[in-house]
């Protein structure tokens, strides 16, 4: 193996090397500590609430009235899950279809053309998507609701789901394109040479071979959607309730945290509850990320 040659143990070069290596190590240590620091920091802040009520009572409680000390998180968990599920239902099939078209059917230069566009779209801040949602999706959803005979302001779970779906599509699409592009060309050639049509080859070979990668991309889309704050906050309505249909308002966890930071210091346990919400979000998203990254790494080998 190669390694740095033994240099003279004195002199400026030696000391520069020593100091910079220490600095690098310190940086690495710092970044490795961050996730644990986040977990512990939020946990310590959330402890007063956990001492006061049992974990199960908090997670399954349905009543949210900070003034009376009731912190039931179930409406928020339900809100988060509903918005995320809707978002994935919209974005998963669309991005999969688009990825198949872009990588399999379309001419090569089309990919070259759209790749930068997708990249740029993935970088647009979520507040912009929120503005768009307020301007176009809200009236659309309100109209749709009245068509179904339900009165709705448009600020609803459905609006949140649509905005999130549009937002996470470039992100998921990017990963799906990578999945399809990294598939060995020989597989496709073998399948086609056995007389399959293009679609049969995609359906039976590529989708099967890429399944874990595709699922992982979807899972990353889910964790992206779970944690999104501003765009959802702007369109979802923010009412503490169990929505009975998708045209009603909901209240996902990130919106809860963002909306109440102003008043949390004045009510006992309120700040603790919000930090618990952040901790809950952190644990959920990290779990999802971990599972999907694990799949990707396994798949890449």
């Amino acid at each position: 193996m190669i390694s740095a040659l033994k240099i003279k143990q004195t002199g400026s070069r030696f000391w520069v090397d020593r100091i910079s290596t220490t600095w690098m190590l310190a940086g690495l240590f710092f970044i490795l500590v961050v996730p644990f620091a986040i977990f512990l920091g939020l946990l310590i802040k959330a402890l007063p609430l956990l001492y006061d009520q049992s974990l199960w009572a908090i997670l399954s409680g349905t009543e949210w009235s900070p003034m009376r000390g009731n912190f039931g998180f179930l409406p928020f968990i339900v809100g988060s899950v509903l918005v995320t599920v809707l978002a994935v239902c919209f974005s998963a099939p669309t991005s999969l279809m688009a990825a198949i078209y872009i990588t399999q059917f379309a001419p090569k230069r089309f990919l070259k053309l759209v790749h930068p566009v997708i990249d740029i779209l993935a970088g647009i801040p979520s507040v912009i998507y929120g503005v768009w949602g307020v301007l176009t999706i809200i009236p659309l959803v309100a109209g749709l609701a009245s068509w179904f005979g339900i009165s709705s302001t448009g600020y609803s779970i459905l609006a949140g789901g649509i905005v999130l779906a549009v937002m996470s599509t470039p992100y998921v699409l990017n990963m799906l394109i990578e999945v399809f592009r990294s598939m060995p060309i020989g597989l496709k050639e073998a399948s086609l040479s056995l007389g399959s049509t293009y679609w049969e080859c995609i359906k039976h070979v590529l989708l099967r071979k890429g399944l874990s990668g595709i699922l992982a991309a979807f899972a990353l889309g889910v964790s992206n959607a779970l944690g999104n704050t501003i765009a959802v906050l702007m369109v979802v309505g923010n009412r503490v309730q169990f929505p009975s249909n998708v045209f009603e308002a909901g209240y996902p966890i990130p919106a809860l945290i963002a909306n109440n930071y102003g008043e949390m210091m004045s009510i006992p346990l309120y700040d603790s509850a919000l930090m618990f919400a952040a901790l809950l979000l952190f644990v959920m998203v990290t779990f999802f990320n971990f599972a999907s990254r694990y799949f990707i790494q396994k798949y890449e080998v």
């Binding site: 240099i7 030696f14 986040i38 939020l42 279809m97 970088g123 647009i124 990353l220 704050t229 998203v285």
Partner: protein, 286 residues
């Protein structure tokens, strides 16, 4: 036509339609923002801070938020570079022999990348309380720096990974230390890619609202030192949009254009640099 080719045609058309639909929607977003924002756009928007009665539709602009965003994202990016560059170099030079350890570090960084901004915001808030800080530019910078560090390290790492191993061997064989190899060979060779990584992180820092909600506060003035609160563009858009007054909402759309243009400029610059990089690199595959 038999069933097989019917199915083929059907799915070919379906996937094509979906792709077209997708790009129509995404163009629609940009078009909506432009259409609603341009009428409210004025020179005052980018040259003036909010005057008295700004939030009732009177005089003023969002200069406080533009400058605040640049201070915040710029400061955070500078801080993040001081951690990210050494770590990325360390991973690719000192740790290059320990592949399984490296895989684990990368997994951890990827997971950190995926942690929602609002969680970083809440964490920054607890840090802020711990150190007795108030909502200020400094607290915002620290929070955003922690948030963009993983992004920057991973992006730099992807660039450094492509540098051929032979360069390292050549450098060692000439008697240089690992530090010299890192900063004089690797960092220089990868400079365009590293710049792209920094721009990526900068764009994330500017566009994010959730992380600074707790930590940076909001003000109508341009901050004069690190301990004053600062406004940011995304939050400014958000606050103006929740106003009941039409004229104020109009200006939120204009501010949204400003933010979009800033982000587009950053990502296009990043793209331009990496295209240049591909053109001038000696071997095509790095």
């Amino acid at each position: 036509m038999n069933r097989k080719s019917l199915e083929e045609q059907f799915f070919r058309r379906l996937t094509q339609l979906t792709t077209v639909l997708l790009f129509v929607v995404l163009t629609w977003i940009i078009a909506t923002i432009l259409y609603r924002g341009i009428p409210a756009m004025s020179w005052d928007m980018i040259t003036k801070v909010p005057q008295g009665g700004f939030y009732f539709g009177k005089e003023g602009g969002v200069l406080n938020a533009i400058i605040g965003s640049f201070y915040l994202a710029g400061g955070a990016t500078l801080c993040a570079i001081f951690v990210s560059l050494p770590v990325a170099l360390f991973m690719n030079i000192h740790l290059v022999k320990y592949q399984s350890f490296l895989t684990r570090i990368r997994l951890l960084l990827d997971i950190l990348w995926g942690v929602p901004a609002i969680v970083y915001g809440a964490f920054g808030f607890t840090l802020m309380l711990y150190f007795g800080l108030r909502a200020s530019l400094l607290a915002g910078i620290i929070t955003v720096a922690i948030m963009i560090c993983p992004i920057m390290i991973r992006a730099m790492d992807e660039v450094l990974r492509t540098i051929p191993r032979g360069l390292m061997e050549a450098s060692y064989s000439l008697g240089s230390t690992r530090t010299e190899t890192a900063f004089k060979i690797y960092a220089r060779k990868a400079l365009p890619g590293l710049t792209t990584a920094v721009l990526l992180a900068l764009g994330k820092g500017i566009g994010d609202a959730a992380a600074v909600l707790f930590t940076a506060g909001f003000t109508d003035y341009i901050p004069e030192n690190l301990l004053q609160p600062t406004a940011t563009l995304p939050l400014s858009i958000f606050f103006q949009l929740s106003s009941p007054i039409e004229a104020v909402r109009e200006r939120a759309y204009a501010a949204a254009i400003i933010l979009t243009v800033i982000i587009l400029l950053f990502s296009l610059t990043g793209r331009g640099i990496s295209t240049l990089y591909k053109k001038y690199s000696a071997n095509g595959n790095d």
